[in-house]
């Protein structure tokens, strides 16, 4: 007979021995005995439902040997066994014992010693952990605020905003530390009179925020190159998967009540495996479709002299191409496009260059970026990042200022570059030419870019 297990997310603070004991007793009465304890996921083993008494105690010495039970710790466990308590499991210093004897004497019979052990454990495992978390949250929040001020476009177009979740974590961490210290103060005072104090239920909500932080950071980093539509589509696929899983669990619970348990189990497992395969396949295909594919590869010589392979895309919808300005003849033109979109900003960068196989690449190039700021109060900061943080002068001489703001970048006060920036409404445009464009070429480029669609599509 195969052993049956189930996992649950448990948000107990590990010093909360009172509620952990109650919870484990309830689980045992429902037929689930604690089997392993992780930081968030606890595993339970199926048993015959029975009334079991649990005791959560904190081993006073350092546990450095990981899961290996040292002689000292084994001595502690043996002593508890001789007091009628069976060792069940431990998570570092937290040890869980159980007994079927309702009248077994408690493991801790001296309140001050119990408080001392809990505090020693809590200091190492909880308080310092939360202090680190608080420090990390303050650091990351400060970092994001600084980056937002300095480079709003770079910060807002990729995954960094996920760190905005850190203040939430910060609030929960502070609440948890204060709750613990409050309990400790009361319990210590009561222990002086020989009284034991129950711990209060403090749920580690911050764990729920660390999950989005870990997974969201990775996912958003990936999705920041895609359209919001693609993100929603993928989220839809994930949610459908979760929904299917919930349906599967519901069907499983219902069918398992029937007599043909084993056959049903095998069928359900097959069904689940097929369902998962379909899900993975469809999300794989979706991802493959969503990511732009290289049109072809060319060998390019880098500035350091080594050859490398470059993906060359053919963007038919590019608002501007080198061929709009110059004759490229038989030369290969590489076209790269990077699109990033989050809620407040979307930006597309195009770069075009003529590529000559196995030769020095000193041909023509054209680079431009179109940035749309959806949140107007950010516009000035974005302009600062893209334009005013460089040496720029108004390009009054090309008579563009009547329609929109226009600037030319300079290497120093006297040396102009073939790089320009334009603003109209909430759109900021930056263009680099490898040649000195004529006024007509510039006006053509600006008008094309100001009216272009800033989208992901190729």
């Amino acid at each position: 007979m195969m052993e049956e297990y189930k996992r649950r997310i448990e948000l107990f603070s590990l010093y909360d021995h009172t509620n952990i004991e109650k919870h484990l007793e309830k689980m045992a009465s429902e037929g689930w005995m604690i089997d392993t304890i992780g930081s968030t996921f606890w595993r339970y083993k199926k048993i015959e439902p029975k009334k079991v008494k649990f005791s959560v105690v904190y081993y006073p010495k350092d546990v450095k040997e990981g899961t290996t039970i040292s002689d000292d710790r084994q001595n502690f466990i043996d002593l508890c066994s001789s007091g009628g308590w069976n060792y069940v499991i431990n998570s570092e210093k937290m040890h869980i014992f159980s007994t079927d004897d309702e009248n077994a004497p408690p493991i801790d019979t001296d309140a001050p010693i119990q408080i001392e052990c809990i505090h020693k454990f809590a200091k190492a495992e909880i308080v310092y952990g939360y202090l680190f978390l608080i420090f990390a949250c303050i650091f990351f929040s400060g970092f994001v605020i600084y980056e937002l001020w300095k480079e709003p476009v770079n910060t807002l177009k990729d995954a960094t905003p996920i760190f905005w979740l850190t203040p939430v974590t910060l609030i929960f961490s502070v609440i948890n530390i204060i709750s613990y210290l409050n309990w400790y103060r009361k319990a210590k005072s009561a222990a002086e009179n020989g009284e034991f104090t129950d711990t209060k239920m403090i749920i580690r909500f911050e764990v729920l925020f660390w999950f989005p932080l870990y997974f969201g950071f990775g996912l958003l980093g990936f999705f920041s190159f895609l359209r919001i539509r693609d993100i929603l589509l993928t989220l839809g696929i994930i949610l459908s998967g979760i929904l299917l899983f919930v349906i599967y669990k519901a069907i499983k619970n219902k069918i398992l009540k029937s007599e043909r348990k084993e056959i049903s189990k095998i069928r359900l497992k097959r069904f689940a495996a097929v369902m998962l395969a379909v899900l993975w396949l469809s999300s794989g295909i979706g991802t493959y479709i969503a990511i732009p594919k290289p049109y072809y590869k060319v060998k390019v010589k880098s500035e350091f002299g080594n050859m490398y392979s470059q993906n060359v895309y053919l963007d038919k919808n590019a608002p501007l191409d080198i061929s709009d300005f110059k004759e490229t003849g038989n030369k290969t033109v590489s076209r790269e496009k990077i699109f990033r979109e989050l809620l407040l900003i979307k930006e597309t960068e195009w770069s075009f260059g003529t590529v000559e196989d196995d030769k020095d690449n000193d041909g023509l190039f054209l680079y431009y970026s179109v940035t749309d700021v959806r949140f107007t109060p950010l516009l000035y900061r974005c302009k600062n990042e893209i334009i005013f943080n460089h040496i720029v002068y108004d390009t009054k001489e090309i008579h563009l200022t009547d329609k929109f703001e226009s600037y030319r970048y300079y290497i120093d006060d006297k040396t102009p570059m073939n790089s320009y920036a334009f603003c109209n409404g909430n759109r900021i445009i930056s263009v680099d030419f490898s040649w000195e464009p004529s006024e007509e070429e510039l006006i053509f480029a600006v008008e094309e870019l100001l009216n272009s669609q800033n989208t992901y599509a190729f």
Binding site: V57, L79, C80, S82, T109, D110
Partner: protein
């Protein structure tokens, strides 16, 4: 501080030290206390483990032998003095009680 803590003993500490007049292991201590006090004092194994560790650190008791994982302990001279001083303190309390009530009678 542990030293200040052991200037007066709790009942549990007192009986542990009393049992360790003769060499004894942890399990025996629990049984002996139960027997001496007719079950009045209940000593939890976790508390016993902690107190034994603290007594050893403070050189109130000393580990005499280890058979497998079974460790035996015995009182040191310092331990005997602490126990005696606690006995005298309790005795003095009892004397004071009796003196006061006899005067009233």
């Amino acid at each position: 501080m542990p030293r200040a803590k052991f200037q007066t003993l709790t009942e549990q500490m007192f009986y542990i030290l009393l049992c360790l007049k003769n060499e004894c292991c942890g399990t025996d201590i629990m049984e002996k206390i139960k027997s001496i006090t007719d079950g009045r004092i209940i000593l939890g194994p976790g508390t016993l483990y902690n107190l034994l560790e603290q007594f050893v650190t403070e050189e109130i008791i000393v580990e005499t032998k280890t058979e497998g994982r079974r460790r035996s302990y015995i009182l040191t001279e310092k331990g005997k003095q602490i126990l005696e001083s606690e006995y005298n303190r309790i005795r003095k309390q009892a004397d004071d009680y009796e003196k006061l009530f006899r005067e009233e009678q």
